[in-house]
Protein backbone atom coordinates (compact mmCIF):
# COMPACT_ATOMS: atom_id res chain seq x y z
CA UNK A 1 0.00 0.00 0.00
CA UNK A 2 2.79 2.34 0.92
CA UNK A 3 4.69 1.51 -2.25
CA UNK A 4 1.59 1.96 -4.34
CA UNK A 5 1.10 5.42 -2.92
CA UNK A 6 4.60 6.33 -3.87
CA UNK A 7 3.76 5.57 -7.48
CA UNK A 8 0.69 7.75 -7.42
CA UNK A 9 1.38 11.08 -9.04
CA UNK A 10 -0.38 14.32 -8.30
CA UNK A 11 -1.59 15.62 -11.66
CA UNK A 12 -3.43 18.93 -11.97
CA UNK A 13 -5.38 20.05 -15.03
CA UNK A 14 -5.93 23.79 -15.34
CA UNK A 15 -8.81 24.93 -17.55
CA UNK A 16 -8.43 28.59 -18.49
CA UNK A 17 -10.29 28.96 -21.77
CA UNK A 18 -13.94 29.72 -22.42
CA UNK A 19 -15.83 26.84 -23.99
CA UNK A 20 -16.75 26.66 -27.71
CA UNK A 21 -14.61 29.53 -29.06
CA UNK A 22 -11.64 27.15 -28.93
CA UNK A 23 -11.37 23.39 -28.38
CA UNK A 24 -8.89 23.54 -25.50
CA UNK A 25 -11.40 23.00 -22.69
CA UNK A 26 -13.22 20.25 -24.56
CA UNK A 27 -10.07 18.31 -25.44
CA UNK A 28 -8.81 19.02 -21.92
CA UNK A 29 -11.87 17.30 -20.55
CA UNK A 30 -11.28 14.33 -22.88
CA UNK A 31 -7.77 14.07 -21.44
CA UNK A 32 -9.04 14.25 -17.86
CA UNK A 33 -11.55 11.44 -18.49
CA UNK A 34 -8.83 9.13 -19.81
CA UNK A 35 -6.38 9.97 -17.03
CA UNK A 36 -9.12 9.29 -14.47
CA UNK A 37 -8.88 5.58 -15.31
CA UNK A 38 -5.24 5.47 -14.19
CA UNK A 39 -5.92 5.98 -10.49
CA UNK A 40 -3.61 8.92 -10.05
CA UNK A 41 -4.30 11.85 -7.73
CA UNK A 42 -6.12 14.10 -10.20
CA UNK A 43 -7.42 17.60 -9.65
CA UNK A 44 -9.05 20.10 -11.99
CA UNK A 45 -8.78 23.85 -11.51
CA UNK A 46 -10.89 26.46 -13.28
CA UNK A 47 -9.22 29.83 -13.67
CA UNK A 48 -10.17 32.88 -15.74
CA UNK A 49 -12.59 32.14 -18.56
CA UNK A 50 -12.26 28.46 -17.67
CA UNK A 51 -15.04 28.96 -15.11
CA UNK A 52 -17.46 29.61 -18.00
CA UNK A 53 -17.09 25.94 -18.98
CA UNK A 54 -19.15 25.09 -15.89
CA UNK A 55 -21.95 27.56 -16.55
CA UNK A 56 -25.49 26.20 -16.42
CA UNK A 57 -27.92 26.42 -19.33
CA UNK A 58 -25.46 26.17 -22.19
CA UNK A 59 -27.17 25.03 -25.38
CA UNK A 60 -24.82 24.65 -28.32
CA UNK A 61 -27.35 23.38 -30.88
CA UNK A 62 -27.40 26.76 -32.64
CA UNK A 63 -23.65 26.87 -33.27
CA UNK A 64 -23.48 23.24 -34.42
CA UNK A 65 -20.86 22.20 -31.87
CA UNK A 66 -21.30 19.41 -29.32
CA UNK A 67 -21.88 20.74 -25.82
CA UNK A 68 -20.00 19.24 -22.90
CA UNK A 69 -20.93 21.12 -19.72
CA UNK A 70 -22.85 18.05 -18.55
CA UNK A 71 -19.78 15.88 -18.93
CA UNK A 72 -18.31 17.67 -15.94
CA UNK A 73 -21.15 16.11 -13.94
CA UNK A 74 -19.78 12.69 -14.89
CA UNK A 75 -16.35 13.39 -13.36
CA UNK A 76 -17.63 12.38 -9.95
CA UNK A 77 -18.39 8.90 -11.30
CA UNK A 78 -14.77 8.65 -12.43
CA UNK A 79 -13.60 9.53 -8.91
CA UNK A 80 -12.41 12.94 -10.02
CA UNK A 81 -13.68 14.84 -7.03
CA UNK A 82 -11.15 17.62 -6.65
CA UNK A 83 -12.71 20.44 -8.62
CA UNK A 84 -11.41 23.86 -7.63
CA UNK A 85 -12.55 27.25 -8.86
CA UNK A 86 -10.59 30.46 -8.50
CA UNK A 87 -12.68 32.86 -6.41
CA UNK A 88 -11.71 36.08 -8.17
CA UNK A 89 -12.32 34.58 -11.63
CA UNK A 90 -15.85 33.66 -10.59
CA UNK A 91 -16.58 37.04 -9.01
CA UNK A 92 -15.17 39.07 -11.90
CA UNK A 93 -17.59 37.29 -14.22
CA UNK A 94 -20.59 38.02 -12.01
CA UNK A 95 -21.07 34.32 -11.28
CA UNK A 96 -21.71 32.38 -8.09
CA UNK A 97 -21.54 28.67 -7.29
CA UNK A 98 -25.26 28.46 -8.03
CA UNK A 99 -24.53 29.27 -11.67
CA UNK A 100 -22.35 26.17 -12.08
CA UNK A 101 -23.37 22.66 -13.21
CA UNK A 102 -21.30 20.86 -10.54
CA UNK A 103 -20.27 21.30 -6.94
CA UNK A 104 -16.86 22.85 -6.72
CA UNK A 105 -14.62 24.20 -4.04
CA UNK A 106 -14.12 27.94 -4.45
CA UNK A 107 -10.62 28.90 -3.32
CA UNK A 108 -8.41 31.96 -3.10
CA UNK A 109 -5.54 32.21 -5.56
CA UNK A 110 -3.04 31.78 -2.73
CA UNK A 111 -4.57 28.44 -1.74
CA UNK A 112 -4.61 27.26 -5.36
CA UNK A 113 -0.99 28.38 -5.66
CA UNK A 114 -0.20 26.15 -2.70
CA UNK A 115 -1.93 23.19 -4.34
CA UNK A 116 -0.01 23.83 -7.56
CA UNK A 117 3.24 23.71 -5.65
CA UNK A 118 2.43 20.16 -4.43
CA UNK A 119 1.89 18.75 -7.92
CA UNK A 120 4.13 16.42 -9.86
CA UNK A 121 2.54 17.44 -13.15
CA UNK A 122 0.45 20.48 -14.18
CA UNK A 123 -1.19 20.67 -17.59
CA UNK A 124 -2.86 23.87 -18.79
CA UNK A 125 -5.53 23.50 -21.44
Amino acid sequence: MHMENENIKKIMHVLRHAPHGTIYTYEGLEMILIMAAYEQDLSVVFIGDGVYALKKNQDTAGIGIKGFARTFMALDGYDVEKLYVDKLSLEERGLTEDDLVVDVEVLDAEVIGGLMKEQDVIIHH
Partner: protein, 119 residues
Protein backbone atom coordinates in the same frame (compact mmCIF):
# COMPACT_ATOMS: atom_id res chain seq x y z
CA UNK B 1 -24.77 40.77 -53.19
CA UNK B 2 -21.50 38.94 -53.92
CA UNK B 3 -19.60 37.88 -50.83
CA UNK B 4 -16.11 36.47 -50.38
CA UNK B 5 -15.06 34.74 -47.17
CA UNK B 6 -11.55 34.58 -45.73
CA UNK B 7 -11.01 31.84 -43.14
CA UNK B 8 -7.80 31.94 -41.13
CA UNK B 9 -8.01 29.05 -38.63
CA UNK B 10 -8.21 25.30 -38.90
CA UNK B 11 -11.22 23.12 -38.05
CA UNK B 12 -12.29 22.11 -34.54
CA UNK B 13 -9.49 23.93 -32.71
CA UNK B 14 -11.20 27.30 -33.21
CA UNK B 15 -14.83 28.19 -33.77
CA UNK B 16 -13.90 30.31 -36.79
CA UNK B 17 -14.69 27.61 -39.34
CA UNK B 18 -18.07 26.91 -37.73
CA UNK B 19 -19.04 30.57 -37.71
CA UNK B 20 -17.88 31.05 -41.29
CA UNK B 21 -19.95 28.04 -42.37
CA UNK B 22 -23.11 29.22 -40.60
CA UNK B 23 -22.57 32.67 -42.07
CA UNK B 24 -22.17 31.26 -45.58
CA UNK B 25 -25.34 29.17 -45.22
CA UNK B 26 -27.29 32.19 -44.00
CA UNK B 27 -25.98 34.41 -46.79
CA UNK B 28 -27.04 31.85 -49.40
CA UNK B 29 -30.43 31.47 -47.73
CA UNK B 30 -30.91 35.23 -47.98
CA UNK B 31 -30.25 35.09 -51.73
CA UNK B 32 -26.67 36.28 -51.79
CA UNK B 33 -23.87 34.71 -53.80
CA UNK B 34 -20.95 33.21 -51.91
CA UNK B 35 -18.26 33.76 -54.52
CA UNK B 36 -15.44 31.84 -52.81
CA UNK B 37 -14.03 30.83 -49.46
CA UNK B 38 -10.30 31.51 -49.23
CA UNK B 39 -8.26 29.63 -46.61
CA UNK B 40 -5.16 31.19 -45.09
CA UNK B 41 -2.81 30.48 -42.16
CA UNK B 42 -3.95 27.27 -40.42
CA UNK B 43 -7.26 27.71 -42.26
CA UNK B 44 -5.89 25.61 -45.12
CA UNK B 45 -6.42 22.47 -43.02
CA UNK B 46 -10.21 22.83 -43.33
CA UNK B 47 -10.28 20.89 -46.61
CA UNK B 48 -8.31 17.72 -45.97
CA UNK B 49 -10.30 14.60 -46.74
CA UNK B 50 -8.15 12.70 -44.24
CA UNK B 51 -10.19 14.32 -41.46
CA UNK B 52 -12.14 11.66 -39.55
CA UNK B 53 -14.00 13.12 -36.56
CA UNK B 54 -16.27 11.07 -34.24
CA UNK B 55 -19.49 9.93 -35.91
CA UNK B 56 -21.69 12.09 -33.69
CA UNK B 57 -19.71 15.21 -34.58
CA UNK B 58 -19.77 17.40 -37.68
CA UNK B 59 -17.27 16.62 -40.46
CA UNK B 60 -16.03 20.10 -41.28
CA UNK B 61 -14.26 19.20 -44.55
CA UNK B 62 -17.25 17.25 -45.88
CA UNK B 63 -19.58 20.06 -44.92
CA UNK B 64 -17.57 22.66 -46.84
CA UNK B 65 -17.30 20.24 -49.76
CA UNK B 66 -21.06 19.74 -49.96
CA UNK B 67 -22.01 23.39 -49.51
CA UNK B 68 -19.50 24.60 -52.09
CA UNK B 69 -20.51 22.05 -54.73
CA UNK B 70 -24.21 22.61 -54.18
CA UNK B 71 -23.89 26.36 -54.59
CA UNK B 72 -21.15 26.53 -57.19
CA UNK B 73 -18.30 28.14 -55.33
CA UNK B 74 -14.81 26.91 -54.50
CA UNK B 75 -12.97 26.61 -51.20
CA UNK B 76 -9.47 27.77 -52.06
CA UNK B 77 -6.40 27.10 -49.95
CA UNK B 78 -3.35 29.36 -50.25
CA UNK B 79 -0.50 27.32 -51.72
CA UNK B 80 2.31 28.71 -49.54
CA UNK B 81 0.29 28.25 -46.35
CA UNK B 82 -0.77 24.77 -47.51
CA UNK B 83 2.77 23.59 -48.19
CA UNK B 84 3.87 24.58 -44.69
CA UNK B 85 1.04 22.58 -43.18
CA UNK B 86 1.02 19.41 -45.26
CA UNK B 87 -1.98 20.17 -47.47
CA UNK B 88 -1.63 19.22 -51.15
CA UNK B 89 -3.83 18.24 -54.11
CA UNK B 90 -3.89 14.59 -53.07
CA UNK B 91 -5.71 15.25 -49.79
CA UNK B 92 -8.28 17.84 -50.91
CA UNK B 93 -12.01 17.23 -50.63
CA UNK B 94 -14.16 17.80 -53.72
CA UNK B 95 -15.01 21.43 -54.27
CA UNK B 96 -11.70 22.69 -52.97
CA UNK B 97 -8.47 23.65 -54.71
CA UNK B 98 -5.04 25.06 -54.00
CA UNK B 99 -4.21 28.46 -55.43
CA UNK B 100 -2.11 31.57 -54.89
CA UNK B 101 -2.67 34.78 -52.99
CA UNK B 102 -3.35 36.51 -56.29
CA UNK B 103 -6.66 34.68 -56.31
CA UNK B 104 -7.50 36.19 -52.94
CA UNK B 105 -6.71 39.60 -54.37
CA UNK B 106 -9.13 38.93 -57.23
CA UNK B 107 -11.74 37.82 -54.71
CA UNK B 108 -11.22 41.00 -52.69
CA UNK B 109 -11.57 43.11 -55.84
CA UNK B 110 -14.57 41.49 -57.48
CA UNK B 111 -16.82 41.04 -54.44
CA UNK B 112 -19.05 43.50 -52.66
CA UNK B 113 -17.81 42.21 -49.32
CA UNK B 114 -14.91 40.23 -47.90
CA UNK B 115 -15.72 38.83 -44.48
CA UNK B 116 -12.89 37.42 -42.36
CA UNK B 117 -13.11 34.69 -39.71
CA UNK B 118 -10.24 33.56 -37.52
CA UNK B 119 -8.77 33.53 -34.05
Amino acid sequence: MKIGILLKEGPYNHQASDTAFKFAEAAIKKGHTVDAVFLYNDGVTNVTKLMDPPQDDRNIATRWSELSQKHGFEVLACIAASKRRGINDDVLVQGSAITGLGTLTDIAIRNDRLVTFGD
